[in-house]
Amino acid sequence: MGAHISIPMYQRAVPQRYRLVGQRCLKCGKVNFPPKAVCKYCNAGFEFEEVTLSGRGTVYSYTIIAGGGAPPEFAEQAHCQGSYPVVVVELEEGPRVIAQLVDPPPAGITIGMPVRAVFRKIYEEEGVIRYGFKFRPA
Protein backbone atom coordinates (compact mmCIF):
# COMPACT_ATOMS: atom_id res chain seq x y z
CA MET A 1 0.00 0.00 0.00
CA GLY A 2 1.23 3.45 -0.84
CA ALA A 3 2.33 6.05 1.62
CA HIS A 4 -0.23 8.31 3.23
CA ILE A 5 2.46 10.86 3.75
CA SER A 6 4.62 11.08 0.67
CA ILE A 7 8.35 11.45 1.12
CA PRO A 8 8.41 15.04 -0.21
CA MET A 9 5.57 15.86 2.17
CA TYR A 10 7.53 14.41 5.07
CA GLN A 11 10.64 16.24 3.91
CA ARG A 12 8.79 19.57 4.06
CA ALA A 13 8.04 18.95 7.74
CA VAL A 14 11.57 17.87 8.69
CA PRO A 15 12.31 20.97 10.83
CA GLN A 16 9.14 20.28 12.85
CA ARG A 17 9.69 16.55 13.13
CA TYR A 18 13.40 16.60 13.85
CA ARG A 19 13.71 19.53 16.23
CA LEU A 20 10.28 21.02 16.91
CA VAL A 21 10.57 24.25 14.98
CA GLY A 22 7.46 26.27 15.76
CA GLN A 23 6.39 29.80 14.97
CA ARG A 24 5.78 32.81 17.21
CA CYS A 25 2.95 35.03 16.01
CA LEU A 26 4.22 38.58 15.54
CA LYS A 27 0.74 39.89 16.32
CA CYS A 28 -0.20 38.10 19.56
CA GLY A 29 3.14 36.59 20.56
CA LYS A 30 1.83 33.06 21.04
CA VAL A 31 3.67 30.02 19.75
CA ASN A 32 2.02 27.79 17.12
CA PHE A 33 3.09 24.20 16.68
CA PRO A 34 2.64 22.63 14.19
CA PRO A 35 2.82 25.75 12.02
CA LYS A 36 -0.28 27.43 10.64
CA ALA A 37 -0.77 29.96 7.87
CA VAL A 38 -2.79 32.12 10.27
CA CYS A 39 -2.14 32.06 14.03
CA LYS A 40 -4.57 29.70 15.75
CA TYR A 41 -4.66 31.80 18.91
CA CYS A 42 -5.57 35.22 17.50
CA ASN A 43 -6.88 33.98 14.12
CA ALA A 44 -5.40 37.12 12.63
CA GLY A 45 -1.61 37.12 12.65
CA PHE A 46 -0.01 35.71 9.53
CA GLU A 47 3.58 36.77 10.11
CA PHE A 48 5.76 34.67 12.36
CA GLU A 49 9.27 34.21 13.63
CA GLU A 50 10.76 30.72 13.91
CA VAL A 51 11.29 29.35 17.40
CA THR A 52 12.79 26.01 18.27
CA LEU A 53 10.79 24.54 21.12
CA SER A 54 12.54 23.06 24.13
CA GLY A 55 10.76 19.72 23.86
CA ARG A 56 9.88 19.89 27.54
CA GLY A 57 6.29 19.53 28.59
CA THR A 58 3.77 17.54 30.57
CA VAL A 59 1.36 14.76 29.67
CA TYR A 60 -2.07 16.25 28.93
CA SER A 61 -3.69 12.93 28.12
CA TYR A 62 -2.68 9.43 27.13
CA THR A 63 -3.81 6.14 25.72
CA ILE A 64 -2.16 2.79 25.13
CA ILE A 65 -2.65 1.41 21.64
CA ALA A 66 -3.11 -2.35 21.80
CA GLY A 67 -0.85 -4.18 19.38
CA GLY A 68 -3.60 -5.76 17.33
CA GLY A 69 -5.17 -2.39 16.58
CA ALA A 70 -2.05 -0.52 15.46
CA PRO A 71 -2.06 1.15 12.05
CA PRO A 72 -0.24 -0.99 9.46
CA GLU A 73 2.85 1.28 9.40
CA PHE A 74 3.27 0.54 13.10
CA ALA A 75 2.63 -3.18 12.91
CA GLU A 76 6.30 -4.07 13.32
CA GLN A 77 6.59 -1.83 16.36
CA ALA A 78 3.43 -3.37 17.80
CA HIS A 79 4.86 -6.84 17.11
CA CYS A 80 7.96 -6.01 19.15
CA GLN A 81 6.33 -4.03 21.95
CA GLY A 82 2.89 -5.60 22.22
CA SER A 83 1.32 -2.22 22.84
CA TYR A 84 2.62 1.32 22.96
CA PRO A 85 1.53 4.58 24.56
CA VAL A 86 0.41 7.66 22.66
CA VAL A 87 0.25 10.95 24.52
CA VAL A 88 -0.88 14.49 24.03
CA VAL A 89 1.85 16.65 25.52
CA GLU A 90 1.40 20.24 26.61
CA LEU A 91 4.71 21.86 25.71
CA GLU A 92 6.14 24.48 28.02
CA GLU A 93 5.82 27.11 25.28
CA GLY A 94 2.06 26.50 25.18
CA PRO A 95 1.09 24.32 22.24
CA ARG A 96 -0.01 20.73 22.60
CA VAL A 97 1.21 17.97 20.36
CA ILE A 98 0.45 14.29 19.91
CA ALA A 99 3.26 11.73 19.81
CA GLN A 100 4.36 8.42 21.24
CA LEU A 101 5.83 8.02 24.71
CA VAL A 102 8.88 5.79 24.99
CA ASP A 103 10.13 4.02 28.11
CA PRO A 104 6.90 4.56 30.12
CA PRO A 105 7.37 4.29 33.88
CA PRO A 106 6.53 0.88 35.37
CA ALA A 107 3.99 2.49 37.69
CA GLY A 108 2.02 3.80 34.71
CA ILE A 109 1.58 7.08 32.91
CA THR A 110 -0.09 9.93 34.75
CA ILE A 111 -1.56 13.17 33.51
CA GLY A 112 0.78 16.03 34.40
CA MET A 113 3.87 13.83 34.26
CA PRO A 114 6.90 15.76 32.95
CA VAL A 115 8.34 14.55 29.65
CA ARG A 116 10.99 15.62 27.16
CA ALA A 117 11.27 15.11 23.42
CA VAL A 118 13.60 12.44 22.06
CA PHE A 119 14.69 11.65 18.50
CA ARG A 120 13.40 8.31 17.21
CA LYS A 121 12.41 6.40 14.13
CA ILE A 122 8.71 6.96 13.61
CA TYR A 123 8.22 4.36 10.89
CA GLU A 124 9.72 3.14 7.68
CA GLU A 125 8.06 3.09 4.29
CA GLU A 126 9.43 2.71 0.77
CA GLY A 127 12.80 1.90 2.35
CA VAL A 128 13.02 5.39 3.82
CA ILE A 129 13.26 5.86 7.56
CA ARG A 130 11.00 8.60 8.86
CA TYR A 131 12.66 10.11 11.90
CA GLY A 132 10.89 12.41 14.30
CA PHE A 133 10.16 13.24 17.88
CA LYS A 134 8.64 11.09 20.54
CA PHE A 135 8.54 11.84 24.26
CA ARG A 136 10.20 10.19 27.24
CA PRO A 137 9.57 10.64 30.97
CA ALA A 138 11.80 13.53 32.10
Binding site: M1, H4, I5, M9, A13, P34, K40, Y60, S61, Y62, T63, I64, I65, A66, G68, G69, A70, P71, P72, E73, F74, A75, Q77, S83, Y84, V86, V87, V88, P95, R96, V97, I98, A99, Q100, I111, I122, Y123, R130, G132
Partner: protein, 392 residues
Protein backbone atom coordinates in the same frame (compact mmCIF):
# COMPACT_ATOMS: atom_id res chain seq x y z
CA UNK B 1 -36.44 30.21 3.90
CA UNK B 2 -38.73 27.32 2.94
CA UNK B 3 -39.74 24.68 5.47
CA UNK B 4 -38.27 21.20 5.09
CA UNK B 5 -40.06 17.89 5.65
CA UNK B 6 -39.05 14.28 5.44
CA UNK B 7 -41.66 12.36 3.47
CA UNK B 8 -39.95 9.01 3.12
CA UNK B 9 -37.08 7.02 4.53
CA UNK B 10 -35.49 3.63 4.04
CA UNK B 11 -32.57 1.77 5.48
CA UNK B 12 -30.97 -1.60 4.91
CA UNK B 13 -30.28 -3.74 7.87
CA UNK B 14 -26.82 -2.86 9.13
CA UNK B 15 -24.33 -5.70 9.20
CA UNK B 16 -22.06 -7.87 7.13
CA UNK B 17 -23.41 -8.62 3.65
CA UNK B 18 -20.92 -10.42 1.42
CA UNK B 19 -23.46 -10.67 -1.42
CA UNK B 20 -24.29 -6.95 -1.57
CA UNK B 21 -22.17 -4.09 -2.87
CA UNK B 22 -22.74 -0.33 -2.61
CA UNK B 23 -25.21 -0.38 -5.49
CA UNK B 24 -27.33 -3.19 -4.05
CA UNK B 25 -27.28 -1.68 -0.55
CA UNK B 26 -28.25 1.73 -1.87
CA UNK B 27 -31.05 0.33 -4.04
CA UNK B 28 -32.50 -1.62 -1.11
CA UNK B 29 -32.69 1.48 1.08
CA UNK B 30 -33.99 3.58 -1.82
CA UNK B 31 -36.83 1.19 -2.64
CA UNK B 32 -37.90 1.01 1.00
CA UNK B 33 -37.89 4.81 1.04
CA UNK B 34 -40.19 4.94 -2.01
CA UNK B 35 -42.62 2.52 -0.36
CA UNK B 36 -42.76 4.64 2.77
CA UNK B 37 -44.13 7.61 0.80
CA UNK B 38 -47.69 6.56 1.57
CA UNK B 39 -49.54 8.79 -0.90
CA UNK B 40 -47.24 7.76 -3.73
CA UNK B 41 -44.49 9.51 -5.63
CA UNK B 42 -43.23 9.50 -9.19
CA UNK B 43 -39.49 9.06 -8.62
CA UNK B 44 -38.75 11.16 -11.68
CA UNK B 45 -39.88 14.19 -9.67
CA UNK B 46 -36.71 13.89 -7.53
CA UNK B 47 -34.48 16.79 -8.53
CA UNK B 48 -31.23 16.34 -6.65
CA UNK B 49 -29.34 13.85 -4.53
CA UNK B 50 -26.64 14.25 -1.90
CA UNK B 51 -24.96 10.97 -1.08
CA UNK B 52 -22.60 10.50 1.86
CA UNK B 53 -19.83 7.95 1.47
CA UNK B 54 -16.26 7.74 2.70
CA UNK B 55 -14.84 4.61 1.13
CA UNK B 56 -15.87 5.66 -2.37
CA UNK B 57 -12.69 7.65 -2.30
CA UNK B 58 -10.64 5.02 -0.54
CA UNK B 59 -11.59 1.57 -1.55
CA UNK B 60 -14.08 1.14 -4.36
CA UNK B 61 -14.99 3.96 -6.64
CA UNK B 62 -12.48 6.74 -7.11
CA UNK B 63 -14.98 9.43 -7.96
CA UNK B 64 -18.53 10.14 -9.07
CA UNK B 65 -20.18 7.59 -6.85
CA UNK B 66 -23.42 9.57 -6.85
CA UNK B 67 -24.21 9.20 -10.58
CA UNK B 68 -23.23 5.54 -10.36
CA UNK B 69 -25.85 4.95 -7.68
CA UNK B 70 -28.53 7.13 -9.26
CA UNK B 71 -28.12 5.38 -12.60
CA UNK B 72 -28.59 2.09 -10.76
CA UNK B 73 -32.02 3.15 -9.48
CA UNK B 74 -33.35 4.69 -12.69
CA UNK B 75 -32.55 8.33 -12.03
CA UNK B 76 -29.54 8.80 -14.32
CA UNK B 77 -29.98 12.52 -14.91
CA UNK B 78 -30.58 13.81 -11.41
CA UNK B 79 -28.23 16.49 -10.05
CA UNK B 80 -26.22 14.15 -7.86
CA UNK B 81 -23.12 14.64 -5.75
CA UNK B 82 -21.09 12.66 -3.23
CA UNK B 83 -20.53 14.30 0.13
CA UNK B 84 -17.57 13.37 2.28
CA UNK B 85 -16.89 14.41 5.85
CA UNK B 86 -15.69 11.07 7.20
CA UNK B 87 -18.23 9.62 9.67
CA UNK B 88 -20.41 12.69 9.21
CA UNK B 89 -20.71 12.19 5.44
CA UNK B 90 -24.35 11.14 5.80
CA UNK B 91 -25.12 14.01 8.14
CA UNK B 92 -23.61 16.52 5.76
CA UNK B 93 -25.48 14.95 2.84
CA UNK B 94 -28.66 15.50 4.83
CA UNK B 95 -27.60 19.02 5.79
CA UNK B 96 -26.86 19.96 2.19
CA UNK B 97 -30.10 18.41 1.00
CA UNK B 98 -32.01 20.36 3.68
CA UNK B 99 -30.32 23.59 2.62
CA UNK B 100 -31.17 22.86 -1.02
CA UNK B 101 -34.87 22.50 -0.17
CA UNK B 102 -34.83 25.42 2.27
CA UNK B 103 -33.36 27.65 -0.43
CA UNK B 104 -36.44 27.12 -2.57
CA UNK B 105 -34.37 25.88 -5.48
CA UNK B 106 -35.67 22.30 -5.21
CA UNK B 107 -38.81 20.71 -3.84
CA UNK B 108 -37.73 17.07 -3.73
CA UNK B 109 -34.20 16.16 -2.76
CA UNK B 110 -32.70 12.85 -1.78
CA UNK B 111 -30.27 12.63 1.13
CA UNK B 112 -28.52 9.30 1.39
CA UNK B 113 -25.49 7.49 2.62
CA UNK B 114 -23.89 4.18 1.90
CA UNK B 115 -20.83 2.29 3.06
CA UNK B 116 -19.35 -1.07 2.28
CA UNK B 117 -16.76 -1.78 4.95
CA UNK B 118 -16.81 -5.55 5.32
CA UNK B 119 -15.19 -6.40 2.00
CA UNK B 120 -11.70 -5.53 3.13
CA UNK B 121 -9.32 -7.01 5.68
CA UNK B 122 -9.17 -5.37 9.08
CA UNK B 123 -5.64 -4.11 8.45
CA UNK B 124 -6.69 -2.46 5.20
CA UNK B 125 -9.70 -1.10 7.03
CA UNK B 126 -7.46 0.45 9.67
CA UNK B 127 -5.33 1.85 6.88
CA UNK B 128 -8.05 3.93 5.36
CA UNK B 129 -10.09 4.62 8.49
CA UNK B 130 -7.04 6.30 9.93
CA UNK B 131 -7.40 9.01 7.34
CA UNK B 132 -10.51 10.37 9.00
CA UNK B 133 -8.37 12.09 11.56
CA UNK B 134 -5.30 14.22 11.18
CA UNK B 135 -2.87 12.15 9.16
CA UNK B 136 0.29 14.19 9.58
CA UNK B 137 0.40 14.11 13.34
CA UNK B 138 -2.27 11.84 14.83
CA UNK B 139 -1.65 9.00 12.44
CA UNK B 140 2.12 9.37 12.55
CA UNK B 141 2.00 9.19 16.32
CA UNK B 142 0.90 5.60 15.70
CA UNK B 143 -2.53 6.42 16.95
CA UNK B 144 -5.66 4.81 15.67
CA UNK B 145 -9.05 6.42 15.46
CA UNK B 146 -9.95 4.67 18.72
CA UNK B 147 -6.76 6.08 20.20
CA UNK B 148 -7.89 9.64 19.55
CA UNK B 149 -11.20 9.15 21.35
CA UNK B 150 -9.32 7.25 24.04
CA UNK B 151 -7.18 10.36 24.65
CA UNK B 152 -10.41 12.31 25.15
CA UNK B 153 -11.70 9.64 27.53
CA UNK B 154 -8.54 9.62 29.64
CA UNK B 155 -8.63 13.39 29.96
CA UNK B 156 -12.36 13.32 30.75
CA UNK B 157 -11.74 10.76 33.50
CA UNK B 158 -9.00 12.99 34.89
CA UNK B 159 -11.07 16.17 34.83
CA UNK B 160 -14.49 14.86 35.86
CA UNK B 161 -14.02 11.58 37.66
CA UNK B 162 -15.60 9.49 34.96
CA UNK B 163 -15.11 5.78 35.71
CA UNK B 164 -14.49 2.83 33.42
CA UNK B 165 -18.01 1.60 34.36
CA UNK B 166 -19.61 4.70 32.88
CA UNK B 167 -18.12 3.95 29.51
CA UNK B 168 -19.45 0.42 29.71
CA UNK B 169 -22.90 1.65 30.75
CA UNK B 170 -23.18 3.29 27.33
CA UNK B 171 -22.29 0.03 25.61
CA UNK B 172 -24.72 -1.99 27.72
CA UNK B 173 -27.58 0.46 27.13
CA UNK B 174 -27.05 0.65 23.37
CA UNK B 175 -26.66 -3.08 22.94
CA UNK B 176 -29.89 -3.61 24.89
CA UNK B 177 -31.68 -1.20 22.53
CA UNK B 178 -30.21 -2.80 19.43
CA UNK B 179 -31.39 -6.22 20.56
CA UNK B 180 -34.93 -5.03 19.79
CA UNK B 181 -34.02 -3.38 16.49
CA UNK B 182 -34.36 -5.71 13.48
CA UNK B 183 -32.22 -3.32 11.42
CA UNK B 184 -29.30 -3.45 13.87
CA UNK B 185 -26.00 -5.22 13.34
CA UNK B 186 -25.75 -6.63 16.87
CA UNK B 187 -29.06 -7.85 18.20
CA UNK B 188 -27.64 -9.09 21.45
CA UNK B 189 -27.69 -7.56 24.91
CA UNK B 190 -24.47 -7.60 26.90
CA UNK B 191 -23.82 -7.47 30.64
CA UNK B 192 -21.86 -4.75 32.39
CA UNK B 193 -19.28 -7.35 33.34
CA UNK B 194 -18.84 -8.37 29.71
CA UNK B 195 -18.62 -4.77 28.60
CA UNK B 196 -15.92 -4.02 31.15
CA UNK B 197 -13.74 -6.97 30.26
CA UNK B 198 -13.41 -6.97 26.51
CA UNK B 199 -10.18 -7.29 24.57
CA UNK B 200 -8.14 -4.07 25.00
CA UNK B 201 -8.13 -1.73 22.01
CA UNK B 202 -6.75 1.58 23.24
CA UNK B 203 -6.71 2.34 26.95
CA UNK B 204 -9.24 2.92 28.45
CA UNK B 205 -11.23 1.31 25.63
CA UNK B 206 -11.83 -2.35 25.06
CA UNK B 207 -13.61 -3.80 22.07
CA UNK B 208 -17.04 -3.13 23.62
CA UNK B 209 -16.33 0.60 23.66
CA UNK B 210 -15.94 0.71 19.89
CA UNK B 211 -18.46 0.75 17.09
CA UNK B 212 -18.06 -2.00 14.52
CA UNK B 213 -17.28 -1.88 10.82
CA UNK B 214 -20.56 -2.21 8.97
CA UNK B 215 -22.17 -2.50 5.59
CA UNK B 216 -25.32 -0.49 5.09
CA UNK B 217 -27.24 2.27 3.36
CA UNK B 218 -29.90 4.76 4.34
CA UNK B 219 -32.01 7.07 2.19
CA UNK B 220 -34.37 9.88 3.19
CA UNK B 221 -36.46 12.03 0.89
CA UNK B 222 -36.79 15.69 1.73
CA UNK B 223 -39.61 17.81 0.46
CA UNK B 224 -40.65 21.44 0.64
CA UNK B 225 -42.85 21.48 3.75
CA UNK B 226 -45.68 23.17 1.86
CA UNK B 227 -45.96 20.18 -0.47
CA UNK B 228 -45.24 17.42 2.06
CA UNK B 229 -48.87 16.39 2.51
CA UNK B 230 -49.25 15.82 -1.22
CA UNK B 231 -47.06 12.77 -0.67
CA UNK B 232 -47.67 11.58 2.89
CA UNK B 233 -50.20 11.86 5.64
CA UNK B 234 -47.51 11.89 8.30
CA UNK B 235 -44.49 13.98 7.36
CA UNK B 236 -41.74 14.64 9.84
CA UNK B 237 -40.49 18.21 9.83
CA UNK B 238 -36.85 19.17 9.95
CA UNK B 239 -37.18 22.22 12.19
CA UNK B 240 -33.53 22.96 12.63
CA UNK B 241 -30.26 21.91 11.13
CA UNK B 242 -26.80 23.06 12.04
CA UNK B 243 -23.30 22.07 11.06
CA UNK B 244 -19.82 23.18 12.05
CA UNK B 245 -16.13 22.28 12.01
CA UNK B 246 -13.20 22.23 14.38
CA UNK B 247 -9.45 21.76 14.12
CA UNK B 248 -8.93 18.33 12.64
CA UNK B 249 -6.13 17.36 15.01
CA UNK B 250 -7.14 17.09 18.65
CA UNK B 251 -3.91 18.67 19.82
CA UNK B 252 -4.97 21.91 18.15
CA UNK B 253 -8.22 22.12 20.14
CA UNK B 254 -8.57 24.21 23.27
CA UNK B 255 -10.39 21.38 25.06
CA UNK B 256 -10.61 17.67 24.38
CA UNK B 257 -13.45 16.98 26.78
CA UNK B 258 -15.99 18.58 24.46
CA UNK B 259 -16.53 18.78 20.73
CA UNK B 260 -16.80 22.41 19.72
CA UNK B 261 -18.14 21.43 16.30
CA UNK B 262 -21.10 19.73 18.01
CA UNK B 263 -21.73 22.72 20.28
CA UNK B 264 -21.76 25.16 17.40
CA UNK B 265 -23.89 22.91 15.18
CA UNK B 266 -26.35 22.33 18.05
CA UNK B 267 -26.65 26.05 18.79
CA UNK B 268 -27.48 26.69 15.13
CA UNK B 269 -30.07 23.90 15.03
CA UNK B 270 -31.77 24.88 18.31
CA UNK B 271 -31.92 28.51 17.24
CA UNK B 272 -33.50 27.67 13.90
CA UNK B 273 -36.01 25.33 15.54
CA UNK B 274 -36.81 27.85 18.25
CA UNK B 275 -36.57 25.23 20.96
CA UNK B 276 -33.97 24.17 23.51
CA UNK B 277 -32.44 20.93 24.81
CA UNK B 278 -35.24 20.53 27.38
CA UNK B 279 -37.78 20.21 24.59
CA UNK B 280 -36.07 17.19 23.05
CA UNK B 281 -37.96 13.95 23.71
CA UNK B 282 -35.35 11.53 22.39
CA UNK B 283 -32.09 11.63 20.47
CA UNK B 284 -29.85 9.61 18.22
CA UNK B 285 -26.30 10.68 18.99
CA UNK B 286 -22.94 9.81 17.54
CA UNK B 287 -21.49 7.05 19.75
CA UNK B 288 -18.68 5.75 17.57
CA UNK B 289 -16.92 5.14 20.89
CA UNK B 290 -18.61 5.10 24.28
CA UNK B 291 -16.97 8.36 25.35
CA UNK B 292 -18.47 10.06 22.29
CA UNK B 293 -22.01 9.58 23.63
CA UNK B 294 -20.89 10.92 27.01
CA UNK B 295 -19.35 14.01 25.41
CA UNK B 296 -22.49 14.50 23.32
CA UNK B 297 -24.76 14.79 26.39
CA UNK B 298 -23.14 18.05 27.44
CA UNK B 299 -22.32 19.28 23.96
CA UNK B 300 -26.01 18.98 23.00
CA UNK B 301 -27.10 20.71 26.20
CA UNK B 302 -28.66 17.69 27.91
CA UNK B 303 -26.48 18.35 30.96
CA UNK B 304 -23.63 20.56 32.08
CA UNK B 305 -20.09 19.74 31.01
CA UNK B 306 -18.62 17.04 33.20
CA UNK B 307 -22.00 15.80 34.48
CA UNK B 308 -22.82 13.40 31.65
CA UNK B 309 -22.02 10.26 33.58
CA UNK B 310 -24.71 11.08 36.14
CA UNK B 311 -27.30 10.88 33.34
CA UNK B 312 -26.13 7.31 32.81
CA UNK B 313 -26.16 6.50 36.52
CA UNK B 314 -29.73 7.82 36.81
CA UNK B 315 -30.91 5.94 33.73
CA UNK B 316 -32.19 9.12 32.12
CA UNK B 317 -30.99 8.16 28.66
CA UNK B 318 -32.28 4.58 28.74
CA UNK B 319 -35.17 3.60 26.53
CA UNK B 320 -37.59 4.03 29.46
CA UNK B 321 -35.84 7.13 30.79
CA UNK B 322 -36.82 10.78 30.52
CA UNK B 323 -34.61 11.32 27.47
CA UNK B 324 -33.91 8.09 25.59
CA UNK B 325 -30.66 8.26 23.65
CA UNK B 326 -29.85 5.85 20.85
CA UNK B 327 -33.05 3.84 21.01
CA UNK B 328 -31.83 2.29 17.75
CA UNK B 329 -28.74 0.88 19.41
CA UNK B 330 -26.58 3.69 18.16
CA UNK B 331 -23.41 3.36 16.16
CA UNK B 332 -22.18 1.09 18.89
CA UNK B 333 -24.70 -1.70 18.31
CA UNK B 334 -26.97 -0.72 15.45
CA UNK B 335 -23.75 -0.39 13.49
CA UNK B 336 -21.73 2.31 11.82
CA UNK B 337 -21.61 2.16 8.03
CA UNK B 338 -19.71 5.42 7.98
CA UNK B 339 -21.31 7.35 5.13
CA UNK B 340 -24.79 6.01 5.91
CA UNK B 341 -24.81 6.73 9.64
CA UNK B 342 -26.13 10.33 9.53
CA UNK B 343 -29.04 9.36 7.27
CA UNK B 344 -29.67 6.16 9.24
CA UNK B 345 -30.28 8.33 12.31
CA UNK B 346 -32.86 10.34 10.34
CA UNK B 347 -34.49 7.06 9.28
CA UNK B 348 -34.78 5.93 12.91
CA UNK B 349 -36.30 9.24 13.98
CA UNK B 350 -38.69 9.33 11.01
CA UNK B 351 -39.99 5.89 11.99
CA UNK B 352 -40.17 6.69 15.70
CA UNK B 353 -42.03 9.98 15.24
CA UNK B 354 -44.52 8.24 12.97
CA UNK B 355 -45.07 5.52 15.58
CA UNK B 356 -43.46 2.94 13.34
CA UNK B 357 -40.53 1.72 15.42
CA UNK B 358 -40.03 -1.81 14.24
CA UNK B 359 -40.69 -3.57 17.54
CA UNK B 360 -43.27 -2.12 19.95
CA UNK B 361 -40.89 -2.43 22.89
CA UNK B 362 -38.65 0.14 21.24
CA UNK B 363 -41.42 2.65 20.34
CA UNK B 364 -40.99 5.93 22.20
CA UNK B 365 -44.43 7.23 23.02
CA UNK B 366 -45.78 10.77 22.81
CA UNK B 367 -42.60 12.21 21.39
CA UNK B 368 -42.84 15.55 19.58
CA UNK B 369 -39.25 16.63 19.13
CA UNK B 370 -36.21 14.53 18.40
CA UNK B 371 -32.59 15.29 17.67
CA UNK B 372 -29.89 13.58 15.66
CA UNK B 373 -26.19 14.23 15.94
CA UNK B 374 -23.53 13.05 13.52
CA UNK B 375 -19.79 13.62 14.01
CA UNK B 376 -16.99 13.46 11.48
CA UNK B 377 -13.81 11.79 12.68
CA UNK B 378 -12.92 12.87 16.18
CA UNK B 379 -14.99 16.04 15.91
CA UNK B 380 -13.50 17.76 12.90
CA UNK B 381 -17.07 18.19 11.71
CA UNK B 382 -20.53 17.74 13.21
CA UNK B 383 -24.11 18.09 12.05
CA UNK B 384 -27.16 18.35 14.32
CA UNK B 385 -30.82 18.07 13.27
CA UNK B 386 -34.05 18.75 15.11
CA UNK B 387 -37.16 16.94 13.99
CA UNK B 388 -40.82 17.52 14.82
CA UNK B 389 -43.68 15.09 14.55
CA UNK B 390 -45.80 16.15 11.62
CA UNK B 391 -49.34 15.32 12.69
CA UNK B 392 -49.86 18.47 14.76
Amino acid sequence: MEGVAIIGAGQTRYGDFPTKGVKELFAEAYLEMLQSVDRGLDPQMIQAAYIGCLSAGSGFQLGQLAPLLMGHVGLPHVNAVRVENACASGGFALYNAACAVASGKFDLVLAAGVEKMRDISSSKGRYWLGVSGDTEYERLAGSTFAGIYALMATRYMHEYGLKREHLSMVAVKNHRNAAANPKAQFRKAITLEQAMNGVPVAYPFNIWDCSPTTDGAAVVLLCNARRARDFTSRPVYLRGFGAASDYLAIHDRSSITRLNATRKAAAEAYKQAGIGPRDIDFAEVHDCFTIAEILAYADLGFCEEGRAHYLLEEGITQLDGKLPVNASGGLKAKGHPIGATGCGMAYEIFRQLRGEAAEPVRQIKNARFALSHNVGGSGGTAAVFIYQRGDE
